[in-house]
């Protein structure tokens, strides 16, 4: 035996919760520090909210309901933010992690795959919390009055959870089958398409007959679930069910195709 030195082996993994928290904070920090990601996560949603409310009020926009415009748009923008983080940001980040060998490097660390996945989900939660405060704050300034009570909180939590699950599994699927650059392009394109025609910011009633189709999209379902949570204070079980179907579909595809390296 050699004498104790600086490098004398004392191996071991940290407790798993500490590892997952470390991973989550690291990923959240990197996401919020990246300019493009921040643009997607906060700046665009805030612009959509302010622009939508001011322009909509100026032209007396009729969305087919008697609710105040800000009460409809704020939940929609929150849904958009959840979508951008869980889907676009996650897909892009994971695509480049594969490319840069980060996942390979972490694969040789004590952090297990499940821990890495848990860290990613927790990181999404952290970023979403930041988004909620900023977008919710801007909404309040614009006069947003959400339904009060525990029902609203529960319904919103369920919508975030199911929406994140559905979009994250789809995001990982895209990141797993495409190269990093193609993931970047595809994730942004899908985001823009869903922003415009996915019934996420605007309610289904604004889309006429096409609303029936959009209702089955994960974006439409998430948008409705968040709107119903804040307008009526109850969980939108039908939309949560649609998100569950997408989550099952996304997870199955990801499990079949995803390669960590």
């Amino acid at each position: 035996m050699s004498e104790a030195g600086v490098f004398t082996p004392m191996p071991g993994g940290a407790p798993i919760t500490r590892q997952v928290v470390a991973q989550a904070l690291m990923e959240a920090k990197l996401m919020l520090r990246n300019g493009e990601q921040l643009l997607l996560a906060v700046v665009i949603p805030v612009m959509v909210l302010i622009g939508g409310v001011t322009a909509g009020n100026a032209i007396d926009l009729d969305l087919g309901t008697d609710r105040a415009l800000v009460d409809i748009l704020t939940p929609g923008v929150l849904a958009l933010a959840i979508m951008s983080t869980s889907f676009t940001s996650l897909a892009i980040a994971t695509g480049f992690e594969r490319r840069y060998g980060v996942i390979k490097r972490l694969g040789a660390s004590p952090l297990p795959r499940t821990g890495l996945l848990a860290g990613k989900v927790l990181a999404l939660g952290c970023v979403q919390l930041v988004q909620l405060f900023i977008i919710g704050g801007v909404g309040q300034i614009l006069g947003w009055t959400p339904a009060a009570g525990f029902g609203t909180v529960l319904a919103f939590f369920l919508a975030i959870a199911m929406g994140t699950l559905a979009f994250a599994s789809l995001g990982l699927f895209v990141a797993g089958v495409l190269r990093a650059e193609a993931t970047l392009a595809a994730a942004n394109l899908i985001y823009l398409l869903l922003l415009a025609g996915g019934a996420v910011v605007l309610p289904l009633t604004a889309y006429g007959a096409y609303g029936g189709v959009a209702h089955w999209l994960p974006s439409g379902a998430l948008g409705e679930a968040v709107r119903i949570a804040f307008l009526d204070g109850v969980p939108a079980w039908r939309d949560l069910g649609v998100l569950l179907i997408w989550a099952v579909l996304g997870s199955t595809l990801t499990a079949r195709t995803f390669k960590w390296e």
Partner: protein, 304 residues
């Protein structure tokens, strides 16, 4: 291990002693990285058995990973992460990490601690990679070409550190294509080429080749025809004479006080004027060139 129809590692058998430095030496594409990655659990061997610290790298991955340190060949960090941030992150995943500031100072990462990974030089990225492999205080480290792309000073620092690891009881397995590195550092050297082991031993054993001496003869004018054969005859059966170019030859054979005298007398008899006549131990480079050169000529013959 095969990739498509290309066999990367074939019938390789080696073991590593605890608390030693083992070098896996070979040219590019020899199968060094594939061998290492199989030990690290990244690749499943198609045939044969791999045991690392007595564990199966695939089946027992969870138990094995905290005990080993891995330095990959390049990359392995987010592009926007700062150097020290990355090192601290890997440290947090371990139960008893080294002091990150000390480690960074030892590896000369102090001045680039806040630099994003993508802006680090190749050498800095390498040193950070080594730091990440060591920070968890592993029993065994696998380092893949640790000094590739480093300046001479960085190379010295890294060598010192690897020697210190051995002193402190860490087992080191490194791949390299620098012969000098293997010769300087390793207790055991395994030379592989085209996925096969072609020689194993300590640097001394490999270069000694059983009391073999090397004489290098450089002359002022091109050798006369038949010079190689006539010198061989003069020296006897146990020596091998290689014509390196038209003005230099290498004599390999049993070390003998008379060898140098015989070569000198042969020069006199053949009226060639030596420009230099040197006697020396074979370098690992000689061994390597002999072995890999030979293997390529007699393709398919298994050594060891």
């Amino acid at each position: 291990m095969t990739y498509g129809d290309k066999t990367a590692v074939d019938g390789l058998s080696l073991s590593v002693a605890e608390g030693s430095i083992t070098a896996v030496l070979g040219p590019n594409g020899a199968g060094k990285t594939t061998t290492l990655e199989t030990c690290e659990g990244y690749r499943r061997p198609q045939q044969g058995t791999v045991r690392v610290l007595g564990l199966d790298p695939i089946a027992d991955r969870k138990q094995l990973l905290p005990r080993i340190g891995v330095m990959l060949q390049g990359q392995g960090a987010w592009s926007g992460v700062r150097a020290m941030e990355m090192l601290k992150h890997i440290a947090r995943l371990h139960a008893h990490p080294l002091d990150v500031d000390y480690l960074a100072e030892r590896l000369g990462l102090g001045e680039c601690g806040r630099t994003p990974y993508r802006r680090l030089s190749g050498g800095q990225q390498q040193r950070l990679g080594l730091a990440m492999a060591l920070v968890g205080r592993p029993e065994l480290v696998f380092v893949d070409e640790p000094t590739a792309g480093m300046d001479p000073q960085g190379r010295r620092t890294t060598w010192e550190l690897l020697r210190e690891l051995r002193t402190d009881g860490v087992t080191v397995v490194l791949t390299t294509h620098y012969l000098e590195e293997a010769e300087e550092l390793a207790d055991q050297v395994h030379i592989i080429d085209r996925g096969r082991m072609i020689a194993s031993g300590s640097p001394l054993e490999l270069t000694r080749g059983g009391a073999t001496a090397t004489v290098r003869l450089v002359v002022t004018k091109p050798f006369p025809p038949g010079a190689r054969e006539s010198l061989r005859q003069a020296l006897g059966e146990d020596t091998e004479v290689t014509l390196l170019d038209e003005r230099s030859m290498r004599v390999t054979g049993k070390a003998d006080p008379t060898t140098l005298a015989k070569v000198s007398r042969w020069c006199e008899e053949n009226e060639v004027l030596p420009e230099s006549l040197t006697l020396g131990r074979r370098s690992l480079e000689d061994v390597f060139l002999d072995l890999t050169g030979e293997l390529h000529l007699t393709d398919g013959v298994e050594h060891v």
